[in-house]
């Protein structure tokens, strides 16, 4: 089980959290003018990268808030957690 750092509550067990997918995916503000391909890209296509990824978590069984984190998808180690709206930290070298 992962140990996850909530920027508001500190370190808590993974069971308190819900994973919410890739981070920094802004919902297009102009859906009516997007092509089908652009809309599909937003809805379904993902990096699914092996390495450092930026992802969204929600502390559902705690403060209830969303935040972002930087995690490595091979080792599952976290490098950082940061609040929504903050710039993402650089991944460790």
């Amino acid at each position: 089980m992962l140990l996850i750092h909530c920027p508001w509550c500190g370190e808590r067990a993974e069971l308190e959290f819900r994973h919410c997918g890739e981070a920094h995916l802004a919902r297009p503000t102009n859906p009516a003018t997007l092509t089908d391909a652009e809309w599909a890209e937003y809805l379904a296509f993902r990096d699914n990268h092996r390495g450092w990824v930026r992802e969204r978590w929600r502390h559902v069984h705690g403060c209830g808030r969303f935040f972002n984190a930087l995690r490595h998808t091979l080792t599952d180690r976290f490098a950082a957690s940061y609040k929504t709206g903050e710039a993402w930290p650089e991944p460790p070298a």
Partner: protein
């Protein structure tokens, strides 16, 4: 390689089993060029190569596998086979596979131990019951066997099941009698042996690291840990690693890769006559011919390539198994493991062409592709050979995420499969 037969078994029994040779050729080095290269030596990749060599004149074929064949999800899965999916497109695809399973040992001259002992899916609440009854009706219209059993009938079919416990009450279940299990390694080995006999090169310990393309974008070859290989057509069948391989050709995929775990108990005498799945509590169970209970758990909630999921996922499944089958409470577990499954948002696979000429993909089988192995290989081989989707594969195109014609088995079952 000579065929297996009763006469040969007898002869080998008298000769101290000394005459069994290597079952398939595994050349250490690839040739400089192939007409078709399959990336990924799991069941789906090997089946694709076999049906290509058997049914289509495409020239030289190779399967490149970064580890050993069957070492991916093929060798890590709980081997449940069934075809009672909701939508006609899925029922056609998975039932095509079940029909091939029924004759596969004869077809390959290799015992894949297909055992249609019946797959029972338990309903624990009104939603489950309504959803399963809907599946039963849809399947009957599609000509796929599936029947509703009330709770008593479930217990009669699977005596270890406790239908009166309070935690997960059993309201009934959907039973597919033609469903069952097969031996996963034998499926990889049987296809490898039969493909090799037809001239397919199976190159193990050969990782694909790059895809080379011509000025017009078409695939021309591959960079691998065993050097450059020229290729006319390339089929990517890399399960959890598909996004990584497709990225080598600059193609993004509608996939996320998650760890999925399974575990086996100590071996015991035959105690469990069928396969039972409980989607609601994420527990799947059958007994192998070796006597181990084979138990499937759920996926982790986050994408990962770690091939090791959280322990709490396993214990959640074991809690459910112990509630449903109290007789297993004192059973010891022998080992657990994880595989990386590639899931799509509609929980249906992707089989077909890609935006890159000469590059084909077969992926997105997620938590439930073993059952489809023969059918998937069969329709993907035809798709590669003709460079146009086989009719059964056509609805499962990559393009469906753009057109919106999803085959939403995720919403239909609301669970893994």
């Amino acid at each position: 390689m000579s065929g297996f037969s009763a006469v040969r078994l007898l002869r080998e029994a008298l000769r101290g089993q000394t005459g069994w040779g290597q079952q398939w050729r595994s050349p250490d080095q690839p040739q400089a060029a192939y007409d078709v290269v399959i990336i990924g030596g799991g069941g789906h990749g090997l089946a694709t190569a076999y049906y290509l060599a058997k049914g289509h004149r495409v020239g030289r074929i190779a399967v490149l596998e970064k580890g050993w064949i069957g070492g991916g999800n093929t060798g890590r899965n709980t081997t449940i086979i069934r075809s009672n999916y909701l939508f006609p497109e899925s029922a056609a695809l998975y039932d095509h596979a079940v029909q091939l399973w029924e004759g596969l040992s004869q077809e390959l001259n290799y015992n894949v131990m297909f055992s249609p002992r019946g797959v029972l899916m338990l309903a624990h609440n009104v939603h489950d019951e309504q959803s399963f009854r809907r599946h039963v009706h849809a399947n009957r219209l599609a000509g796929v066997d599936n029947e509703w059993l009330d709770a008593e009938a479930c217990r009669a079919f699977c005596p270890p099941l406790d239908i009166h416990q309070r935690r997960y009450p059993v309201l009934g279940g959907a039973l597919q009698r033609r469903g069952g299990v097969a031996r996963h390694d034998a499926v990889a080995w049987g296809y490898a042996r039969a493909a090799s006999a037809l001239g397919v090169d199976i190159i193990q310990n050969c990782e694909v690291t790059g895809i080379t393309r011509a000025n017009d974008g078409a695939v021309t070859g591959l960079s691998t840990s065993k050097g450059q290989i020229r290729a006319g057509k390339v089929g990517v069948v890399a399960a959890g690693s598909t996004s990584l391989v497709m990225a080598m050709a600059g193609v993004r995929m509608p996939l996320e890769s998650f760890p999925l775990q399974a575990l086996v108990s100590e071996p015991v005498k035959p105690v469990f006559p069928c396969v039972v799945m409980s989607n609601t509590v994420h527990a799947y169970i059958s007994q192998s011919d070796k006597g181990e209970l084979v138990i499937g758990a759920g996926t982790d909630q986050y994408p990962s390539y770690s091939q090791a999921g959280g322990v709490h996922i396993l214990s959640h499944t074991l809690e459910a198994i112990c509630e449903l089958f109290p007789m297993f409470r004192r059973m010891r577990m022998l080992r657990s493991w994880g595989g990386i499954v590639d899931t799509t948002s509609d929980r249906s696979p992707i089989i077909g062409l890609t935006p890159v000429p000469g590059l084909f993909v077969n992926c997105g089988w997620g938590t439930g592709g073993f059952k489809a192995t023969p059918g998937s290989g069969h329709v993907f081989a035809a798709t590669i050979a003709r460079a146009e989707p086989h009719p059964i594969a056509a609805p499962f195109s990559l393009g469906r995420f753009t057109t919106g014609r999803l085959i939403d088995e995720a919403a239909a079952a609301a669970v893994a499969h």
